[in-house]
């Protein structure tokens, strides 16, 4: 396989669909980031995807994400120049050049942020991330599970403001310091996380997740075009499990401590008629109960999708009456280790449940 592969405009469209599914209800809709990529590609930009195994051990990789309140992101629209400037800022601070750029989380809009930076900075995007999905908190990454260093971090806004968090005593402190700066600039900022060496990427990142997101998007699109069931196609192609199909009967949401928490109830249809499925979410879907019994928990991916179109449905856009299917997809193995479960298992979200994989 060639180490660098150009990504087509069609693949970016597929990436947006697949990343939204891997967002497991959170991560923010990729719509605005996709609009940016369409504009960049219309102007002639082409981004290449890099096989992480081609990285030299001492290459340096930028890990990027957009940070802030989703509400603010609806008014102050994401801009490729901002995320690129977070990367440039880090290069200035380190006095070193990044070989490539990678996403922090492949679930949701942040899957596309590295592409936006890469288009402007003419670097490749590394095929991978450090969540394999979306998660609400900074320490919920494969890098944190591997105890990699969490600093420095750069944070920039659309004006001429930039902040470097040079050191942090813990992930909690990193979260607190960067969150404070983010709020000061209007609760939306582009960040470049702690730089990673090629070796760290190869050893500790979740590899291949970008091409996986593209592939998932393609599976759904192909099924739609052939008038096949996109849910069935996804389950088959990704070795997932269809957990439930039904109609959304109740949603309760509340915004607490910067998170969107809540529950949803689905009444069964078809093979599931007479049964009910309940979901709990904190930005992302965390636990699902079938008829009151725990059926699936994080870190297994809990994807809620429109039963007809196969489009992912976010926790913010759950709505009475929607026809939905709940699909579980396998989590990256690192998240399933005892250390991984400490960071992202059900107890990390406040549920007194042992993790039992749907796929066990």
């Amino acid at each position: 396989m060639a180490s660098l592969r150009p990504v087509s405009a069609e693949e970016i469209e597929s990436l947006a669909i697949g990343a939204w599914i891997l967002g497991t209800g959170g991560g923010g809709s990729p719509y605005l980031a996709l609009l940016n990529m369409r504009a960049l590609y219309r102007e002639g930009a082409r981004v290449a995807l890099m096989d992480p195994m081609e990285l030299a051990d001492d290459d340096l990789v930028a890990v990027v994400s957009n940070m802030g309140a989703p509400l603010v992101g609806q008014e102050r629209l994401t801009d490729p120049r901002t995320i690129a400037s977070a990367v440039t800022m880090m290069e200035e601070y380190l006095r070193r050049r990044f070989r490539a750029i990678m996403s922090l989380e492949i679930g949701g809009g942040n899957a596309i942020q590295p592409f936006m930076a890469a288009a402007l900075l003419d670097r490749p995007v590394v095929d991978g991330d450090c969540m394999g999905r979306a998660f609400p908190e900074a320490q919920m990454t494969s890098f944190a599970i591997h105890d990699l260093q969490m600093y420095p971090l750069t944070l920039v806004d659309v004006r001429h403001n930039a902040v470097v968090v040079a050191r942090a005593a813990s992930w909690k402190w990193m979260e607190r310091l960067s969150r404070t700066a983010c709020v000061a600039v209007g609760s939306i900022a582009a960040t470049c996380k702690a730089p990673r060496t090629g070796k760290e990427i190869k050893d500790c990142a979740i590899l291949g997740s970008t091409s996986k997101a593209i592939r998932i998007g393609q599976t759904v699109q192909t099924a739609r075009r052939a008038h096949r069931d996109p849910i069935e196609a996804l389950v088959e192609a990704e070795r997932g499990r269809l957990l439930f199909t039904g109609k959304l009967a109740d949603v309760a949401r509340r915004a607490t401590e910067g998170f969107l928490r809540g529950t949803a109830r689905i009444d069964g249809l078809g093979d599931f008629r007479g049964h009910r499925f309940e979901l709990a979410f904190q930005n992302e879907f965390a636990v699902g109960w079938l008829d009151g019994v725990p059926r699936v928990t994080t870190p297994d991916l809990i994807c809620v999708m429109d039963s007809v179109s196969g489009d992912a449905i976010g926790t913010e856009t759950l709505r009475y009456g929607q026809r939905v299917s709940v699909v579980a997809l396998p989590a990256p193995p690192i998240l399933l280790t005892p250390k991984g479960l400490e960071h992202v298992g059900p107890r990390a979200f406040g549920y007194d449940l042992d993790f039992t994989s749907v796929f066990a």
Partner: protein, 552 residues
């Protein structure tokens, strides 16, 4: 420099701000008749309402110029039985009936967007740089529509943060230059959207003032008057509105002329997406507010005619069927992005499922497929029972004995199997649609309205009762006739407790509703929203209150 802040800052209110309640004296009392008109793509329907009673109803084809259809409908409505001189009920013998209000609902503006016609080229002004620079106005419009509407696109520094602070100072000089450029380009309609303007509209109102100084002939639409958080969607609504204001003005004037020609001298109201009315003179500035008034009116009409406040409603027209859900007499609203003609907007619109099924739907030769293509308003020429050659849903319904239209003999030759299959297909479409829109496992009634409601089966799973009502073919015009008046306030209050601020906002909203023609005794609060503003000095609270009441 401190400019006047908008929304205006309200300090402690004076003692008496409650609206004055006007009581009509018995001597002035008249029997008040209301005319409701629905101008649809196919038919123009009109009803005359005397209190809760439908006195007269007519249905005429919509004409290409719209007004001829209205004139025809009005002429029929006030002819036999002539309501102006009809005998008043015996309990109120001394009263003279008089048409006091005319309410028109129309899908004219939505259709203009969908069909890409009668649109004005506009200038778009976005205030928010350096934020949101990479996604300029029109960025996610369908190219054909953008090509028709996009004139000048101006992006300027300014806008606000989520907490009310400015992002950067507003570029007033840039705005002045832009205004001159817009005038020089011959553009007369301008849409202005500023980042976070629903929280602080200062930049938009200032930009409008500068535009008026430099380009007095321009019509301006400001985004904070139309939408809520979500810059692209709010801006899209603003630009659509700007593209429609000329058509809205012409249409409203034509409506007024049609009414004058019919000899009636009652004020004209236009119905809005939410089931209320605005005086036509005010409504013509906001055509996008009437985008969904058609389905809203038909659902409100269904509630009124059936006496049910909580039910499912199915409205079967000539080409499409809309299915929705009534809660407390109003349609349940969609709470996500609504596309109009391919443009994403964030209006509060009824949550509807539209199916390609109506009285004019084409039926395949074997009966297995019905719709989505339809003969539409040509049903009365092309349908088999009317002597045409096209097999439609109406022909099948006549053959199956579900309704009696045209000449039954003309469909006597249809095969029984075909009829059975086509009826089964239509019933399945209805059943699946109703099930999809139901939000509750409990059975609830289904009100069937619209000219094609004979396509609704007698029994539907999950439905307690299929309710047919008198005048069901003109439910939308009834909905227009019963529309209420609203008053809304959206203001920042300082140094008041939350309860005091909401009470003050409510008094203001009520006063506005009364001013707009509402009966004070019938006012009800339908929406309250408050939002603390951390950045503004003192204890600042933004409060939005909406009240509705009956037309006085």
């Amino acid at each position: 420099m401190r400019r006047k802040r908008r929304p205006t800052v309200e300090r402690r209110p004076t003692a008496d701000q409650s609206p004055t309640v006007e009581r009509r004296s018995p001597a002035k009392a008249l029997r008040r008749l209301i005319i409701g008109i629905d101008v649809g793509g196919t038919n123009t329907d009109a009803v005359l309402l005397d209190g809760p009673r439908v006195v007269h109803a007519v249905k005429t084809p919509t004409t290409p110029d719209v007004t001829t259809g209205i004139t025809t409908a009005l002429k029929e409505l006030v002819s036999e039985p002539r309501p102006i001189s009809y005998t008043p009920p015996s309990d109120r013998p001394g009263l003279t009936p008089r048409v006091t209000n005319i309410m028109i609902g129309t899908t004219h503006f939505t259709n203009a967007v969908v069909q890409r016609r009668d649109l004005t080229r506009v200038a778009a002004v976005r205030i928010g740089l350096p934020a949101s620079a990479s996604l300029p106005p029109f960025v996610d419009w369908p190219e054909d529509l953008a090509a028709l509407v996009r004139g000048e696109v101006v992006m300027l520094e300014g806008g606000h943060e989520y907490d009310g602070r400015p992002i950067v100072p507003f570029d007033e000089r840039g705005m002045r230059e832009a205004a001159r450029r817009i005038r020089a380009a011959g553009l007369t309609s301008v849409g202005i959207a500023s980042v976070f303007s629903p929280l602080n509209a200062e930049c938009e109102t200032r930009a409008a003032a500068i535009l008026r100084e430099e380009h007095p002939d321009a019509t301006v639409t400001l985004s904070h008057q139309l939408g809520r958080i979500g810059l692209l969607e709010r801006e899209n609504a603003t630009l659509l509105n700007a593209a429609l204001v000329d058509l809205a003005r012409r249409t409203t004037h034509a409506f007024t002329a049609a009414i004058a020609a019919s000899g009636l001298a009652a004020p004209l109201y236009l119905t809005q997406n939410d089931g209320t009315v605005m005086l036509a003179s005010a409504a013509e500035a906001f055509p996008v507010y009437s985008f969904a008034s058609g389905p809203t009116n038909s659902m409100r009409g269904a509630a009124f005619l059936s006496g049910l406040a909580d039910a499912m409603v199915i409205d079967v027209g000539g080409t499409t069927t809309d299915i929705g859900s009534l809660r407390h007499g109003f349609p349940r609203e969609a709470n996500n992005v609504v596309e109009v003609g391919g443009v994403r907007t964030l209006f509060r619109m009824p949550d509807l499922l539209s199916l390609g099924l109506g009285g004019g739907s084409l039926v395949s030769d074997d009966g297995a497929a019905v719709g989505p293509r339809s003969v539409g308003y040509r049903l009365v020429e092309d349908g088999r029972v009317f002597g045409g050659a096209t097999l439609t849903a109406t022909d099948v319904a006549v053959a199956a004995g579900l309704t009696d239209l045209g000449e039954r003999g003309r469909v006597a030759g249809l095969s029984g199997d075909l009829v059975k299959r086509a009826v089964a297909r239509m019933h399945t479409m209805v059943e699946e649609g109703v099930d999809r829109m139901k939000t509750d496992a409990r059975e609830e009634p289904l009100i069937a309205v619209g000219g094609g409601c004979f396509l609704v089966p007698e029994r539907v799973p999950g439905v307690s009762d299929v309710v047919h009502v008198p005048h069901q073919a003109v439910a939308n015009a009834v909905g227009a006739a019963i529309a209420q008046v609203s008053g809304e306030i959206d203001q920042i209050f300082q140094n008041l407790s939350r309860d005091e601020a909401i009470a003050a906002a409510r008094r203001r909203a009520e006063a506005r509703a009364v001013e707009a023609g509402a009966d004070a005794a019938t006012l009800k609060v339908v929406d309250v929203e408050d939002l603390p503003l951390a950045y503004l000095p003192g204890h600042s609270l933004r409060v939005r209150v909406r009240v509705v009441g009956d037309v006085r």
